[in-house]
């Protein structure tokens, strides 16, 4: 039983190889695509690629895909908290100029 559950956590090497190659390719793709004029989309493309890369690292290198549901919950709650910090603050910063303030 013990041996069985531990065997479960060993990720095959070809998974690591595939994730590694994807990460390297995306690193150079994101460097190249930053020189292409996509208007306002440049930053979103760069951040989307970064989020995808980070997800690969968390799921496979950090074994969260093979982890317990409690680990998955903890990881997701941490990301949620970071998003609260970023989006609630930025929603203020982004929208301050939208409506004129009377008397100014």
């Amino acid at each position: 039983m013990q041996a069985h559950t531990e065997e479960h956590h060993i990720v095959p090497k070809r998974v690591y190889a595939l994730v590694f190659v994807t990460l390297i390719i995306l690193t150079w793709v994101t460097a190249w695509v930053s020189t292409v004029d996509l208007g306002r989309m440049n930053i979103y493309v760069a951040l989307s690629i970064a989020v995808f890369k980070a997800t690969l690292v968390v799921l496979f290198f950090m074994h969260v895909k093979y982890g317990s549901r409690l680990t998955k919950l903890i990881v997701c709650s941490g990301i949620l908290w970071l998003m609260l910090l970023l989006f609630i603050t930025m929603s203020d910063i982004w929208t301050r100029g939208w409506i004129g303030v009377p008397g100014r």
Partner: protein
């Protein structure tokens, strides 16, 4: 001490001989490892919020002073940044393979991949040092002698460089701490401390190392890649 030992033997051991690495307050090795993993993730979440504050500062100032950030961020070298990102991803792979061979109980390959991780981390820090030196030579370190040649909003350009040094410096300090821990782990692995049944410190350190890699995965686009349109890559 004698009663302590008997408590260990009387508890939590359902099969075979006693595993000295299994603490008596855990049911079994699986639960002990799960606890350690969860504890590390709790720590990593505090780290996430720690770096998160700096990322937030970056987004706020980038929104307020876009022109300064465009000109200042073009002072970083994309090629050097991309090479360093590649080096760090390689070190994440060698770390993952280190954990893999630890789980197989292969001492020699574990030590080899930990040493490779150490070397790649060292190369990353070396390249970072080269970049810092370059910034020093060009007076791009915020302070009395700060200069930003060709910047339209040099006053606020120093904000970009404050964040650049703050974020990459905090990241580099994490790598230096990781460097120290790696040295200890390599020594312990060489001494044969870890077995296929118990290699928790390797696994836990792997989580730390990959986390530091993830921070860089976000620092690279934010500090090197945004507002590069029309500039050659090489």
């Amino acid at each position: 001490m004698a009663s302590h030992t008997s408590a260990i033997e009387g508890h939590g051991q359902h099969e075979g001989s006693h595993d000295p690495n299994l603490k008596h307050h855990f049911e079994n090795a699986e639960q002990q490892k799960e606890t350690a993993t969860l504890g590390m993730w709790a720590f990593l979440l505090t780290e996430l919020m720690f770096f998160g504050g700096l990322f937030l500062a970056y987004f706020v100032y980038r929104h307020w002073y876009p022109v300064a950030f465009i000109d200042a961020s073009n002072k970083t070298d994309v090629l050097v940044g991309a090479i360093n990102t590649t080096v760090l991803i390689c070190s994440s792979l060698t770390m993952a393979l280190g954990v893999h061979y630890a789980s197989k109980g292969n001492r020699k390959l574990l030590v080899m991949f930990l040493v490779l991780t150490l070397l790649l981390g060292g190369i990353f820090l070396g390249v970072k040092g080269y970049e810092y030196h370059d910034k020093w030579v060009h007076h791009e370190i915020p302070g009395e002698h700060f200069e930003c040649h060709g910047c339209r909003d040099a006053g606020h350009a120093s904000l970009f460089f404050s964040l650049y040094f703050g974020m990459t410096g905090l990241h580099a300090s994490h790598m230096i701490i990781g460097f120290g821990v790696l040295l200890v782990l390599i020594w312990q692995a060489w001494k044969g401390k870890f077995t296929a049944k118990w290699y928790t410190p390797i696994e836990i350190f792997g989580l730390y190392w990959h986390f530091v890699d993830i921070v860089w995965i976000f620092l690279f686009p934010l500090l090197y890649l945004i507002d590069r349109v029309g500039k050659p890559l090489l």
